[in-house]
């Protein structure tokens, strides 16, 4: 049964995927501190491994057309174990929303408004996100096209504007680090920006296209997002060089160094603007998916009633997660990739394997 009856078109879906991945360009500090100037190699490998995740999700989408992630779990595992899997996904989506909200609050709190208490920023941001989520999937993804084009335009423009500061010697020495660092970097990239597209399994019934064509749009959106991420990393390493490990937000520092003429300096305000808009999209999408999972498990009539409650839980959860940014960075580089691997790779793979073994597919259910 569908709770939200909105319909989105295939191109909106594709740009939503691209926008979602582009919003993770803030999180480059996780793997840049690990593989310092070789981060571009690691991100290309991470992109290729992300394609494996993508293949699992498109296989699930093709086997069960017009079914949510929660409904797929119920079909494949039966009512009791399916609900347990869906509860695990509630925890994952709530944690993702809280983490992204915390990132956004930290960025605004450090770079733009240092004296404002964090909770004021978070609450005012979540009010707008809650308003968008109450409208449903159409309103959440309505501006994905505009955001993606604006972000890509700004990325390309700043790439050309930073031409004066690019020094290709900053990429050397190549392949100089122990192998474990490359493995760790690939692991971080494939799970933290690229693996979070598992949330798109929840909105499959709302897409207005025959489901065997959906793989093409999913892959195209993923490719747009991935290429943007790789371009940004290349630009940052080329401009900043070895200093890149010192910064929490490397792209911010890159844009600080751009001077077009004596009047057109201070480009970092562009970065702040696109970051806040992209994080708005990502957080409201994750918020929407959390609300949808909860209302699907308890079989509510509409998702609009629990929006405010879930929003309050996410805000308080995000203040509670880590006690400092340093702990966030440390855990994010070392342990979080393993935990995300469980939710993004292991659980969908188990679902797909059990579905193949039991020979269940949605067409046989007569639905």
């Amino acid at each position: 049964m569908k709770i939200d009856n909105g319909k989105i078109s295939a191109s909106q879906f594709m740009f939503a995927v691209a926008c979602f991945i582009q919003a993770s360009t803030l999180l480059t500090a996780f793997f840049i501190s690990v593989t310092k100037q070789d981060s571009w190699i690691v991100s290309i490998f991470g992109f290729l491994i992300g394609m494996i995740f993508l293949w699992i999700y498109t296989a699930l989408m093709k086997n069960f057309p017009n079914k949510n992630l929660v409904e797929i779990n119920d079909l494949v595992f039966g009512p009791v174990i399916g609900k347990i899997f869906s509860f695990i996904y509630i925890y994952f989506f709530l944690t993702l929303s809280a983490l992204n909200l915390k990132d956004m609050g930290d960025f605004v709190g450090i770079a733009i408004m240092p004296d404002t208490p964090t909770i004021v920023i978070l609450v005012s941001f979540m009010c707008i996100c809650a308003w968008a989520v109450r409208g449903g999937i159409e309103i959440v993804t309505r501006y994905s096209l505009f955001f993606t084009f604006t972000t890509s335009f700004i990325i390309i423009v700043t790439f050309f504007l930073a031409f004066n500061d690019i020094d290709f010697n900053n990429f050397l020495p190549i392949f100089n680090q122990p192998f474990m660092k490359y493995l760790q970097g690939t692991h971080i990239i494939s799970t933290i920006p690229f693996g979070e597209i598992v949330v798109f399994l929840m909105v499959t019934p709302n897409i207005e296209i025959p489901k065997n064509k959906i793989g093409k749009y999913f892959t195209l959106g993923f490719a747009i997002g991935g290429i943007s991420l790789i371009l940004i990393i290349l630009r940052d390493i080329a401009v900043l060089g070895n200093v890149i490990t010192l910064f929490t937000f490397p792209s911010f520092e890159t844009l600080r160094m751009i001077r077009l003429s004596s009047t057109l300096g201070r480009m970092e305000v562009l970065f702040a603007v696109i970051l806040i808009t992209l994080m708005f999209f990502k957080i409201s999408f994750l918020y929407y998916v959390s609300v949808l999972v909860i209302s699907q498990i308890f079989k509510l009539n509409s998702h609009k009633n629990i929006v405010i409650g879930v929003g309050i839980i996410i805000i308080i959860y995000s203040t509670n997660l880590y006690y400092s940014m340093i702990q966030h960075m440390e855990h994010g580089s070392n342990i979080t990739p393993f935990q995300w691997l469980i939710y993004e790779f292991l659980l969908p793979l188990i679902t797909l394997t059990v579905a193949k073994i039991r020979k269940i597919s949605s067409s046989e259910e007569g639905n």
Binding site: Y91, T95, M180, Q184, I294, F298, K299, L300, N301, N305, I306, I308, G309, V310, I312, I313, I316, Y317, T319, N320, L321, Y322, Q327, E330, H331, S333, N334, I335, T336, F338, Q339
Partner: protein, 73 residues
């Protein structure tokens, strides 16, 4: 603390009368329990009491007991 109570009263006055009029028991229970959970969490935050974070707990479990984790250098 007083502000937390006032804000939750305002939120319940926005949401709950429609649900009570429609007389759907299950929705009322779910919405009320989520709001109660949020109320407890935010009053604990307003009183300054810190709860342990579940994410850190799971990550410590993965790191120390299952020994999955990269060593930081």
């Amino acid at each position: 603390m007083l502000y937390v109570i006032i804000i939750f009263l305002i939120i319940s006055f926005i949401d709950l009368p429609n649900l009570i009029k429609k007389d759907s028991k299950k929705e009322l229970i779910v919405v009320c329990s989520i709001l109660c959970f949020g109320f407890i969490l935010s009053s604990l935050y307003a009183l300054g009491i810190d709860l342990p974070s579940p994410l850190v707990g799971i990550e410590n479990f993965l790191k120390n007991i299952l020994k999955l984790g990269y060593k930081d250098q």
